[in-house]
Point group: C2
């Protein structure tokens, strides 16, 4: 995978940028110069630059060139992307926090009208309904409320839910193609108050995820309720 032309160019350029090699002019060399240096095609060079741009390191201006973005320790921190598809791991996975999981509820049910309206699952299909608390550094930090389409996921058990559902999916050949996410701040419910270490806070962050397999079918609806002051979400917006 890493031996693709554009990826090699990307990695070399990235290293040079972070080492400050282009910081005098605040510009990347022009495309023709990079094509000559790497003895490759324009396609590969442009794809490498596009990857750098997606990461927030550079910005292309038509008619002028490829500009480097200023980067400080603070703005660098913003580059730790939220691109992890896994469940809790997406929350500041880079810290590699140790955590335990407590399964609060585990059962199967049929989707009714009310559940259908917010999960987007069809009425009548069977789902696994799971509630788990994630204990991070000894703190009850996250309440995960999952609904998995039972027809599109391998068989689940409470024991699997205590370990890693996503690893279980991976082992059984379920491929996650796309996740749509929504973030909001909400007043804590009684369930949140009971399960999470909110201290004096009476609100939670709610990360709603809808996941699709590689056949385009939704197999998951999840709400992750998390305590304040602990988790960050990063995003990059390009013009």
């Amino acid at each position: 995978m890493g031996s693709q032309t554009f990826n090699e160019i990307y990695h070399i350029l990235r290293e040079r940028i972070l080492a400050g090699k282009y910081s005098v002019k605040m510009r990347l060399p022009i495309e023709d110069a990079l094509i000559a240096e790497f003895d490759s095609s324009r396609y590969a060079v442009r794809k490498a630059i596009a990857k750098l741009a997606k990461e927030g390191l550079v910005y292309s201006v038509k008619g002028r060139g490829v500009v480097l973005l200023e980067h400080s320790p603070q703005t660098q921190q913003f580059n730790l992307a939220l691109n992890n598809l896994n469940g809790l791991q997406s929350l500041n996975a880079e810290r590699h926090l140790d955590y335990q999981t407590e399964v609060v509820a585990f059962h199967q049910q049929i989707v009714d009208q009310a559940l259908s309206e917010h999960t987007a699952f069809e009425v009548g299909i069977p789902v696994y309904a799971i509630q788990r608390v994630r204990i991070v550094d000894g703190i009850r930090a996250v309440l995960d409320i999952n609904y998995f389409n039972a027809q599109r996921t391998p068989t689940l058990t409470a024991a699997i839910a205590k370990r890693s559902i996503y690893q279980h999916f991976k082992k059984n050949g379920l491929k996650i193609a796309v996740v749509k996410r929504m973030l909001r701040v909400e007043t804590a419910t009684e369930l949140d108050q009971a399960q999470l270490a909110l201290d004096d806070n009476n609100c939670i962050g709610n990360m709603i995820s809808i996941a699709f397999n590689d056949e385009g079918r939704q197999f998951e609806y999840t709400e992750s309720h998390f305590i304040p002051n602990k988790f960050n979400f990063n995003e990059l917006i390009r013009n």
Copy 2:
């Protein structure tokens, strides 16, 4: 702009997808068929598909084809992207809420060590420091705390801050290239409690934005503190 080949193909395919024209097979026609139909190059067709994928409508699988993602009213809602570069407008701009602005504070200052550490501005440079409350539907919903590099932005006044700073920038030729964002949930400060309609809630959402001009220079650091239960942020993650 809209007459580019790939953009035309994109719009046509998008319309067909939303009209359900491909929903039987849950697939897009293969690339060669689209090349033939639109009498264009593979480049244009692939670029159109890439745009659909970025939007969360399709997903390409090597060796199989381009799969349509299931879309329901709920998952469609997730497509309203957070791609607006403007300040408050990025918060659910599609609703076109009427709002008023109250300028709470407006002054110039020099960046000291403490301010430098969280804004990423260099110590010693002059900045505009502005605090504004956004009153949405009569509710004090957002507290914007802005710092603008005075050397890289056109002259600002309190009157401009009451209207639109971004329109003022645009008129004066400042181009916003990239915005890096961070989202978190925090315990409300005394300032938040004083300025926002928090009711019984004691937390806020905090959207931190660092904006760069098209020369790659940071010109803005902003914190937008917003009340719970009112704003949503969407995101799409692809594998």
